[in-house]
Symmetry: C2
Subunit: 132 residues, 2 copies
């Protein structure tokens, strides 16, 4: 499988945030209830998104999270790159330049590279605004 729950939950959380008034802060407890994701697990996912600058969080009463950008400027691919360890269809594409000893003579490498391209261009072409 290419995309784990972490990435899929992340998309859902961003999607939920994008459906709110722009700039409105939403608490994680509300987000996790709405999306039926455990609060604790959602915490770990949201932390990644904040660290990447996609969300910003404010503590204290009436605190919560909000998007730092418009929904049409956030692609699904971007969210997945943040939350998934890898989006590549095969491991050997992860470290550039390619570390595999047989890379130079590998008959399948061009195929994997094309597939990787296909997948990533598709996922980066779709924005959160497209989904809502």
């Amino acid at each position: 499988m290419l995309v784990s729950t972490r990435g899929r939950y992340a998309i859902r959380i961003v999607l939920e945030l994008s459906s709110r008034e722009k700039g409105e802060r939403v608490s994680l407890s509300e987000l996790s209830k709405k999306q039926e994701i455990s609060l604790k697990y959602a915490e770990t996912i949201v932390a990644l998104l904040v660290k990447a600058g996609l969300l910003d969080g404010q503590r204290g009463k009436r605190g919560g999270y909000r998007l730092t950008r418009d929904a049409n400027e956030i692609s699904v691919g971007e969210i997945l790159i943040i939350t998934e360890d890898s989006l590549s269809p095969v491991a050997c594409l992860d470290c550039k330049p390619n570390q595999c000893e047989r890379a130079s003579s590998c008959k399948t490498l061009p195929m994997w590279e094309k597939l990787d391209d296909l997948i990533k261009s598709y996922l980066f072409s779709i924005t959160i605004a497209d989904l809502n």
Copy 2:
């Protein structure tokens, strides 16, 4: 990651077989040496391919494996479907009809379905003959 070593090794083994004289039997010890895959691991992979009817094996002296079809009639996708537990980009696409409770209202499902389509059409369009 979408494709594990099992699937990739399987492709390499079929590729190696396709480079031989048609109908020639090749022992697994030779195949595994040529492709630098441990004999024992190669056994488990080849067993899947035999069970699926893509290879046939003969025991005893001068035994070995050979393809049951021409290389231009074997697609990469077919090999991967046999060797990988799943080729889907997300888990919810694996059991049809979709078991996910939120499927009917899921805003991302159409996207995953299109991605799945994209990946599978690509992999099924490439044959072993194309790679050699």
